[in-house]
């Protein structure tokens, strides 16, 4: 293997992919989604006189404004209880919601909805769909034969394309997360650095499932197969990941045949784990104060059924295996 040639190829294919992304509508479409979300965040604000509840690790005693009469609030305030008075406004004041707790909690909730709902679920799915055509178009025999007759290793062509797509999606993730974080920070004065951890986690999530799309592309050269294949695979992995944990966390399901349980375990460890990745994101964003977890993860951890590190590591191993299989497939494909 000639490393300098491989590096040169990866560099050029990386450039080629970024140019492809820039020229396609996908770049602008994703940017528009990010812009809409950033504008939404920029339209948010905190009004009134919100208190900042001390965060000592315990839930602070406080009294929400809504549902309490004015005299109750005054009494509570006099007796040392924090009284929440502010409002969260959206759409530049068009929608007003009384704060449930303090301003930080309200902004945190918005960030969780953006990270968990928009970016982690919808964003990854749309990114998979929108980038699914990048490789099949490029692998069409009429386009690929000249490229594949160049003195460069085929695996490096694939590596460059994969890296280019990841960089493109990474850029979009930075714009989305950075834009919404900045807009919320500027408008509300609440800056949550943990929210920025979404960027690497979203890229990781996408990278794992895009490897499946790459494999389908080199095997079929069909955009339709890549779109449906990768989305179905993503849904399947979600189902299996969720099912595995549900089976362990639900006492009624403990009596399921051990052989079946063993099979589910094997499949769980082989396939990527999108639900686990979402839990890692959930933890990184300290979402416990706002949402309840799907499962009692402490119980799962005590059963040895969930370890964030092993979960991510095994998903990465799956990614590497898929990429190696794709490279081998491309290297042996006859044009």
């Amino acid at each position: 293997m000639n490393l300098p040639i491989a590096i040169l190829t990866i560099r050029w294919m990386f450039r080629d992919t970024l140019r492809q992304a820039l020229a396609s509508g996908v770049f602008w479409l994703m940017l528009c989604v990010s812009l809409v979300c950033t504008l939404f965040c920029f339209s948010a604000g905190i009004q009134g006189d919100p208190v900042s509840l001390e965060r000592t690790g315990e839930l602070t005693e406080f009294l929400p404004r809504h549902g309490s009469s004015g005299s109750d609030l005054d009494k509570a305030a006099r007796s040392g209880v924090d009284v929440v008075r502010g409002e969260l406004t959206l759409g530049f004041g068009a929608v007003r919601m009384p704060l449930g707790r303090d301003a930080e909690a309200a902004v945190h909730l918005l960030q969780l909805l953006l990270a968990g709902g928009v970016a982690d679920a919808l964003g990854v799915l749309l990114a998979l769909v929108w980038t699914a055509g990048f490789l099949p178009t490029f692998l069409e025999p009429s386009a690929a034969t000249v490229l594949l007759s160049k003195p460069v290793p085929r695996w490096s062509i694939l590596a460059g394309k994969y890296g280019g797509v990841l960089a493109f999606v990474g850029f979009q993730a930075i714009v989305f997360v950075g834009g919404t974080w900045l807009a919320l920070g500027l408008r509300t004065g609440v800056w949550t650095p943990a929210y920025l951890l979404c960027v690497p986690l979203l890229i990781l999530h996408f990278a794992i499932f895009f490897s499946c799309s790459v494999f389908l592309a080199v095997c079929t050269r069909s955009t339709v197969a890549c779109v449906f294949g990768s989305v179905l695979f993503w849904l399947l992995c979600w189902g299996l990941n969720y099912g595995h944990h549900a089976a362990l966390a639900t006492p009624q399901l403990q009596s399921v045949a051990p052989a079946f349980q063993g099979m589910v375990d094997v499949v769980y460890w082989i396939l990527p784990k999108p639900a686990d990745l979402s839990m890692v994101l959930f933890d990184a964003l300290q979402a416990d104060n706002s949402f309840s977890r799907l499962f009692d993860y402490q119980t799962l951890q005590s059963l040895g059924a969930f370890s964030p590190e092993l979960s991510v590591l095994s998903s990465l191993v799956f990614t590497l295996v898929m990429l190696a299989a794709s490279a081998r497939q491309l290297a042996t494909t006859e044009y």
Partner: protein, 253 residues
Amino acid sequence: MSSTVAVEFDDVSKSYPAGWPGRRLAALTNVSFAIESGEVFALLGPNRAGKTTLVKILLSLCQPGAGRVARLGQPITDRTTLARVGYMHENQAFPRYWNAAQLLEFYGALSLMPAREIHNRSNQLLRFVGLADRGEEPIARFSKGMIQRLALAQALINDPELLVLDEPTEGLDLIGRRLLFEVIQEQRRRGRTVLLVSHVLGEVEQHCDRAAVLLNGRLVHVGPLNTLTQDAKTGTARSLEQALLDLYERLAA
């Protein structure tokens, strides 16, 4: 293998899966011939004769099922020799998001050319193929003829020692064809090797020194063109078209 041999096929066979498990369709059967350096060599034969398969094997786009193939003195497993090969084919599709100048830079870099040479060579070739004023324009706006001219420039970007042209005149207008023949003459003058696959027999007669004829994946003739065009019985000259028709008829009988 001799250093004056640019291409050598030695007992090459190739088959493809024929749809039914275990069944295979022979594309090439025991093909052996060599192309000397500096020759303009034609590969002839009817459709599905195996010409493109042979070209693809030569360019490492597919592997031979059996036999040995050498390219510029090295076995085809040595991909580094591809840096000295140029290739143009009939249905060329380029990424539509590049412009002509960027495309040549891209293929020049992947042909392992030094960066400083690519720019000069690219400008020179765009002028030659008549696309100098369209160099900054996206390829998406190019016509089929312009794409083929760009494909010719792409094939020449690395100043190849071996130029492989698979149906190169497809889609080319009169001026484009003339450019192509200028290229072939220039390659010959400089002692470079050209392998031309074409159904346009007038072009072949005009430019090629020797030819190989394939029929149903088998080599049925190899040698100077005049050995093909001269009637063995009467000794009279005939057109290449007539010669090939006679050959196919004789073999079918």
